[in-house]
Symmetry: C2
Subunit: 308 residues, 2 copies
């Protein structure tokens, strides 16, 4: 290959593992050849494709939603957990857990139609900025991962997001940002209501959880939505371990990777103590399971897309 397809990756074991894997599965007639139809790659989103510190991006979106609702209902801001949200009280928010925050995110959008929600999310993503890095949240996606997605697409992979994040929130930016169309975004979801009687024009989001796309559920949703085992999977937390192991357990060439957030200077150094999405078991067992660790500090030349 004439030019480096992954210029934001430093030379090292992780970059070599990726380049070697893609070359092997794409080599027609080679022992590890995989036909394009079966080149499925799944990516977690929060912490894998974009920054999830100090809170997942959709929690910042939730905070702004609660601000709006509290403007109409002044008592709301005095009640928990809304008070903690408005005050960005990280300790209380982290204690709520990823699922608790997700349920709050869904509850505060109950009654909104699917198309109206998409509009709200796109508008917010058009101006909302990260409190520490100053860039638009959309700019806090990882440059090396954008290159990797492009590289996989060029090599006839079909990439999917498989994330605990709200599916409709991710769909509002995944196509423009990652080149991943809505039907290849799998996430947590709510139940919806469709009334074909009078107005068959839209679906309404309900407050009730349909799927919390984390841990084993990621594998179940891969089966439900994709119907094929991935040959490459990329995550960053214990919530991704089931998906990584399911990927590795298939026959033929496989690659599973984990971002290790060990870069306190350019991002945040964290793993087992991050309550919203700890990396502990997966870190301890990575070597035993054959998972490749990607060090943000050592393997990534550039971190954020906004820095390019």
């Amino acid at each position: 290959m004439a030019s480096d397809p992954l210029p934001s990756w430093n030379d090292g074991a992780a970059k070599s593992a990726i380049l070697d894997f893609v070359a092997r599965v794409a080599k027609e007639g080679g022992p590890d050849y995989v036909r394009p139809a079966e080149r499925i790659a799944t990516f977690d989103n929060d912490g894998t494709l974009w920054c999830e510190q100090p809170l997942q991006v959709q929690v910042f979106f939730l905070i702004d939603r609660v601000k709006e609702l509290a403007a109409r209902d002044p008592g709301m801001g005095q009640r928990q957990p809304f008070k903690a949200l408005l005050e960005r009280d990280l300790k209380t928010l982290h204690d709520l857990g990823k699922k608790g925050l997700l349920e709050l995110f869904f509850a505060t959008h109950a009654g909104v139609t699917d198309e109206h929600f998409a509009e709200i999310a796109r508008t917010w993503l058009g101006h909302a900025k990260h409190p520490k890095f100053g860039a638009l949240f959309k700019g806090c996606v990882y440059r090396p991962q954008i290159e990797l997605l492009d590289y996989l697409h060029t090599n006839d992979f079909r990439t999917f997001i498989v994330s605990g994040g709200g599916v409709d929130f991710m769909r509002a930016f995944a196509e423009a940002t990652y080149g991943i169309p809505p039907e290849r975004v799998i996430g947590s979801s709510v139940k919806t209501r469709f009334d074909s009687g009078d107005d068959p024009s839209s679906l309404t989001k309900l407050g009730e959880l349909n799927s919390f796309d984390d841990r084993e559920v990621k594998v179940q949703n891969i089966n439900l939505h994709i119907g094929r085992r991935p040959i490459l999977a990329f995550g960053n937390s214990d919530g991704d371990l089931a998906m990584l192991r399911y990927t590795l357990a298939g026959k033929g060439a496989r690659l599973a990777l984990l971002v290790h957030h060990d870069d306190a200077v350019r991002e945040v150094a964290y793993d087992r103590d991050f309550k919203l999405s700890p990396l502990a078991e997966a870190l301890d067992k990575a070597s035993e399971y054959g998972v490749t660790l990607v060090s943000m500090k050592n393997d990534w030349k550039t971190v954020f897309e906004s820095q390019v």
Copy 2:
């Protein structure tokens, strides 16, 4: 266009509506242009892409499964509803309803892994033949619809199956037969179990229904799986009406079609009296809702792929 992309369609209102619609949405700079990313088309399967008479194909698959199970448990064949299945007692089977038969189909595969099920289904589809037409069931797909799918693919549409049929059963043949990969097949499904503890290699199908993909649920599943409103939808029964109306309710150019099985000579003439999947309300309201009726008798030059 030099050659006819739909040679198995007779000239008439239905064929013109299709050719006109595709030309309009694909015409760059035209008033009805739709960018390729948004060219989503959804198709029902049973009765729309292949024959569903006198029973849906997966009921024949179920009958053979029950034969196998009954060979190991001789009392089983004496008990209902298994007796009715083994005797192909159509009246009793039609009374069970589509959902009842589906639940039986799922129940008799509980405990099977996803990959083993795919193998069983592919093997069966490789030899099982239609009792009336004599061809492999795979050959009982409709030739005009295969041409339509090809024509849509050529015009940068992404086609999806959205059917009440079992999703894993359809995925066993949809890619080879229709050119529709597993991730673009949406259907009824069961819950699954994934145990990442000792053996992270596979999912096991449970007997419990996850989704019965019919009527309003088709629209909810389109939202969950695709995340975009189709611009074209094709069905053949009241179970498809919600999907057709949801499709037509979007802004811009839209096309919704219904196969009307009015050909007693080449297939079976039926509509409102077919208990497993009646066409009644959708037939009565087609004109009011702007749905294009496709007459098998008049609009299709050839019916089955096996006749080509």
